[in-house]
Symmetry: C2
Subunit: 335 residues, 2 copies
């Protein structure tokens, strides 16, 4: 292990924003990226954290992501928004959506935003959590570049297509679910390949569609859906909601989120906000939610989804965020 | 195998409705039950088909389900409905919801209905499909009596909590997804127990929370979630959306759908309709949808979710529905 330094959260956000700005990313985009990546790093979701800064910079430099894009938001109906991300990074658009949807949901009972010509949405739970902090339930769907086959097929047609969900608690931070529909993250297979290790059977298939334990063959092939045919069916559902519905590239048309090559990925996202006041009522919902949470917490060995976040964030606020010295030197070289 | 007779669809619906009416189920409820059960039978979803008629009659007789209940629908906001099923059977309420939501979705862009004091929703895909036939995308969530634990727990807190999704096609019947979040249906475990067979490891746990191959121990215990922790997380999501949000019984509070004992199950459902006209536009959506469908169908070994339905229904319209002679004698004894 190389040594690490603990950097205060605000300072780290500022360093990341400067690093993005050096790749000609506009200030609002650079700051939104910094907030999202640093929070994912704190929450232990390193695949959506600081590990992304180099590929984001590269994409801004080659123009695969438009660094100074400003999202264009249009209210299409009383309960719906379309947001054209204009091939920029997604985070400013996601913040616009989560700032706007709660009031629309309170007006209409339910509201939704579709993001088109969009990019990597990072840790999806962050947007869902912001909606729950504003008192609404949240559902979010994102498609991602092709990595999984339709059930029984060979060709990677779907992304790992994550789903996020969040719901407000009475006196606690929201419950948050954020999961990709693949059996494992591609990052785990990449890590095995880098170490020259094999992977367990059931994680991936090779390019011929055969199950494989060879991490390199798996990286060229496809990842298995979580729960077999059911995960593949849900990935198809996400593909329709996040891409076909909003007019985005399907996963099989989308370029990689990881390198600066090719056209913009132009994927899509759909975010839904639901006001409990339009259903059971906010008080009754809160009572139901707390009794459900209590039943789960009373069952030994379980925990509520997202319950680790509060501790991780408190620790980061207290001690700063651990950053490897190589990365820190790189960030400091820009400032 | 006992012998079977092929009964024309309309005649079978009429026989089932009469059978329900004999258990003091009101005409509108009896007819809605008959439509739903016969269609599930035709679609090959026998667990939600004619196998239910005896338990439904029993529940109507004991008052666990109120046979003459009339659902009360209230528009709470421009985009939302609450439907009090009043402890009746769910099908009339589901039909009311799917009759009303498409226009609301066209007005608001997105609309949703919550069903409370509800009962078994049967094959969830049917309601989703009706919404897709009216031109909207559909998402549906239902909670069901307790059968699965929270991840890592012992106590059955969640139902098998199905999710359904449907989307319209240009010239074909809608794509429909309808899946429970358990690894297998409890019906399969019941069938194994009845034959005295063991079940594969990974289907279920015993009452102590240990994996089991003993079908009888499994029936007393819990079923495994599809996709492990991810399926359990999605079951929690459904629990919040279908029950906490609308003010229904959580799965751990709900009585069985199968017998006449105890209070009404009083579970909940949430149905969401989304108008593609408020996002990419109906023409652009349709083009995206057809190109996605074509990509899936071009990949050998795959098929679109719900694509078997059209053939099964055509066969039933042509030849009638096969009904075992024991069941048929029972149905005829009422008429």
């Amino acid at each position: 292990m190389s040594s690490q330094a603990y950097i205060p959260v605000a300072e780290l956000e500022s360093l990341v924003a400067q690093y993005m700005a050096a790749a000609s990313v506009s200030k609002p985009n650079a700051e939104a990226i910094a907030r999202a990546l640093v929070l994912a790093e704190i929450d232990g979701l390193k695949g959506h954290g600081l590990s992304r800064i180099d590929s984001y910079s590269e994409q801004a430099r080659t123009g695969k992501a438009v660094g100074d894009a400003e999202p264009i938001m249009t209210q299409t109906r009383p309960g719906t928004l379309m947001i054209d991300v204009c091939h920029g990074f997604a985070y400013c658009a996601l913040e616009k959506a989560t700032d706007t949807l709660p009031n629309m949901a309170k007006e209409c009972g339910i509201a939704a935003a579709g993001l088109v010509r969009s990019h990597h949405a990072g840790a999806l739970g962050q947007a869902a959590e912001r909606l729950a902090n504003a008192g609404t339930l949240a559902l979010m769907f994102a498609n991602t570049p092709h990595a999984m086959t339709a059930w029984g097929g060979c060709r990677p047609l779907f992304g790992t297509n994550p789903i996020a969900f969040a719901a407000p608690r009475r006196n606690d931070s929201p419950v948050v679910i954020d999961l990709a529909l693949s059996e494992v993250a591609r990052g785990k297979i990449l890590a095995a390949a880098q170490k020259g290790e094999s992977i367990p059977l059931g994680w991936a298939r090779d390019t011929d569609g055969n199950p494989t334990t060879d991490a390199n063959a798996a990286l060229k092939g496809t990842v298995e859906p979580a729960g077999g045919a059911k995960g593949a069916a849900l990935a198809f559902m996400v593909e329709v909601l996040a891409a076909s519905l909003v007019g985005a590239h399907q996963s099989f048309e989308a370029s990689s989120f990881f390198d600066g090559e090719g056209p913009p990925p132009a994927v899509g996202q759909l975010i839904i906000a639901i006001d409990p006041g339009a259903f059971a009522g906010t008080v009754a919902f809160s009572e139901k939610m707390e009794s459900l949470a209590a039943a789960i917490e009373a069952d030994e060995g379980t925990r509520l989804p997202g319950s680790r976040k509060a501790e991780l964030r408190a620790a980061a606020a207290r001690n700063g965020v651990p950053v490897g010295e190589g990365l820190l030197a790189k960030l400091n070289s820009i400032g």
